[in-house]
Symmetry: C2
Amino acid sequence: MGAGDATMAAEQTASPAMRARGSRNDQTRRHNLSALLTAVHYGGPLTRAQLTRDTGLNRSTIGGLVAELADLGLVVEDSAAETGAVGRPSLIVRPRTDVVSLAIHPDVDALEVGAVAIDGTVVGRRRVALDAPPSAESAVQIAAAEARFLLGSMPGVRVAAAAAAVPGLVAMDASTVVDAPHLGWRGVSFGERLSDALGIPATVGNDANLGLRAEWGYGAAKGHDNVVYLNGSASGIGGAALLGGVMLRGGRGYGGEFGHMMIRSEGVECSCGRTGCLETELNAVALDAAAHDDEALDALARTLARAVANLECAFDPDVVLLGGFLGTLYEEREALIETEVDRHSFLPKAEGASIARAALGGNRLLIGAAERAFMPLLADPAGTVLIQR
Amino acid sequence: MGAGDATMAAEQTASPAMRARGSRNDQTRRHNLSALLTAVHYGGPLTRAQLTRDTGLNRSTIGGLVAELADLGLVVEDSAAETGAVGRPSLIVRPRTDVVSLAIHPDVDALEVGAVAIDGTVVGRRRVALDAPPSAESAVQIAAAEARFLLGSMPGVRVAAAAAAVPGLVAMDASTVVDAPHLGWRGVSFGERLSDALGIPATVGNDANLGLRAEWGYGAAKGHDNVVYLNGSASGIGGAALLGGVMLRGGRGYGGEFGHMMIRSEGVECSCGRTGCLETELNAVALDAAAHDDEALDALARTLARAVANLECAFDPDVVLLGGFLGTLYEEREALIETEVDRHSFLPKAEGASIARAALGGNRLLIGAAERAFMPLLADPAGTVLIQR
DNA sequence: CGTGATAAGTTTCTGGCATAAACATATGAC
DNA sequence: GTCATATGTTTATGCCAGAAACTTATCACG
C-alpha cells in the first residue's frame, strides 16, 4: 500500500481559520481562463494542442476558452509555423503585444517608467535623472508625465494596470509605503496617489520582491518554486523569498528583510538599531574598499557564504539568487563561496541549493513591477477592464 | 479609483512554471465537500446556516453537500440546541467521532500511539517506555502492536490514516526519514514500513512541523496565518513556520531548521558542523545549569530574544510561538525577552509580532500527526476510503 | 497526383453542479 | 392563535466541461 498514495493530497493545506470559501461553476471558468492566459504569459506562444496537454482540459474546452480570450482582446491565434509533424497543424496562441502594464521605479537618483507588454517584453521606457531623491509627490508627477508621454507614443495600446517598485517597506494594502529610508518616504499612500494621477489602478511593491518576481517569471529563477533572493544595491541589501511558488509576505507584508539578518554578533551598529546586520557588514562601500585587497574580499565572500548558509537552513531553497553587487562578489569568489556554504550547510550535502547570479539586469524591476500590475488580469481575464488609450 | 480594487486579486499567485492545471466541474464538488468537512473539523459543530454564510454557497447547495458528507459517514446532523433566536432552527453539523486517525510518536525514551477523532479530540493513547532509542524496525513493531490494541478497544471505529511525528529531517515523499540523529535513523522508509505493518496508509512528518500544525488548528496559533514556531526539547531546538496559511517546507522538505540558525558568530561548534547555532547556545543542559543563576538565565533569555528578532525580520509573523523549554524560559523572563526583541526589532514598532507560549502540552504531537493523517480525507472526503475495524 | 494515416479543430449532445424561486416548516413575538 | 422570521426542501434552470462524431489540414507513400 505504501505511503505514496496519500502524499499528494496531504501536501495541500487546509485552513483552520474557517476561510472556507465555496466554489461555484463560474469560478471554474475563471480559473481556466486564468490558467490559459498565465500559460501564454510566461510560456510565450503555445499551440492549442500544447495547452490541451498541459492543462488536461478537453480540446473543445480549450477551443472555447481561447475563443473567449481572443474576444477579450488578450490573445491572437496564428496559423501554425511548419513543424514537419503529421496531422493537422495546431493553432498558435500568443498574447497580444498591445496589452501593456506600466512599471514605475522611483529611486534616489532617477525615476524610471516602463511599458511592458503582456508577453514580458519591455516595449518602452523613460528615465529621468534626478539631483536628489524625489518626494512622493514629485515622483507621482514625474511618473504621470512620463507615462503620458510613453503611452502617447503607442496609439491603440490598452493598459492593464500600473505598479511601482519602491525600495522600502510596503504595507499589505499594496499602496502604502510605510518606510523607504533612502527616499525619505514614510507612511505615504503612494499607490493611491499614483492611481489618481495616472487614471489607472496602481499598486506598490517592495523592490526586492518584484525583482524576484521578475527573475522567477523570466530570469534565473524560472521553473523553481523555492527561491531565496538577495540583492545588493547602494541602498543596502534587499531580500525576498518564493516558497512553494508563493511569495513570502508575512503578516504585515514586511517579510524577507534579510539585509537585517544578524550575521556577526559583535558587529557594527546598523541604522536599524541592531548590530551586526548583514548589510552593515557587507555593502557597496565595503566592497569598493576591498577592491584591490584579496583577503578583504575573501572575508566579504565568507560573510556572504554564512548568510547564504543561514538562509538555506531556514528555507531549504532550490536556488539562492544573488543580484547587484552580491552577484558581482559571487562571480569573483565563486569557488570560495560554494565551499564555505557547503561547509556551513546543515542540510545533507549534494542535495543543497544551487547558487546563481540574477539574470535580468536593468530591466528587472520594470518587468517585476509590470508582473505585479498584470496579476489581476491574469487572475481574472474576463473580469478585468483594460484602459484604452 | 484607488489601489484597493486591484489588491485582492493581485495577492494571488500565478505560477510561471506552466503548472497550468485545468479545473473541471467535479473538482468544484470536491472542493466544496472539502471546505465543509474542514470547517467542522476545525470549527467544531456548526449549523448549516453558519456554513451557508461562511462559504457563500446557496442553502440548497449546503443541504446537498451535507447530505453527501452524512452518507459518507463523516458527519451527523443534530437538531439545534435552543438558541432563543427567531426563525426555524438550523441543523447542527458535527464531525462523527468514530472516524479517527492514528498518531505515532517515536522518541528516544518512549513511543506513543494515539487515536485522534476527526473533531481533534484524543480518544485513546498508549505509551511504551523504552530503555534505549528504538530502531526504526522495532518502532514499527511496537507501533503496530499498540495500534492493534488501541483499535481493538474501539469497536466500529473507522480509520482515515496514520501519521508519525519524527524528530528529524523528513523527505518530500512524507515517508523517508532522511536523518533523525537522536534516534539514529538515516534514510529509512519509515512511512512505508509503518503502512505495511498497520495495513493503513501512513505518512511521516517532522515533529516541529506537526507541532505547529496542532497549535494552528487547536492551540495558541489558532486563527493566525503567519506563525513562527520554536520548540525546545532534549534533542535540541526544532522550528517550523506557517506563512500565509501554508506550512514552510522548502524544496526538499527541510525548511524551518531554526535550531541551526547562527546566533553567535564566535560560538561553540555544533554537532552539525557549524558554529554558534542557536541550539548549541541555548539548550536544556545550559538551561539546567542556569537554573539558580539569574545572570546566566538573563543571558539565555537574551539569546532567545535575538533569535526571535531575527526570525521576525525574516518572516514578519503575527505570532512567535515558543514550546518546550523555550516556553518555560519565556515565562520566566517574559519582560526581558519582550524588550530585547523590541530593541532588536527591525520592523516598525507596535506592529511587531506577539510572542506566545505553545498551548497544547503533551497532546501536541499526537494531534499534529493526526492532523497530517486527516489531510487526504479533508482534501477529498468522497474520494478517500476509510478502513473499517 | 491521389489515397491513407494522423492529429487537431468544430459541432452537437450530455451530465454534473450550483442556483434561484417557490414552497414547507419550526421557532419567537405579540 | 396569528404573524414575522429564518431555515430546510423541492423543482426547474443555466453554465460549464466532456464525449463522441464529424471535418479539416498536414505528411507519407506509391
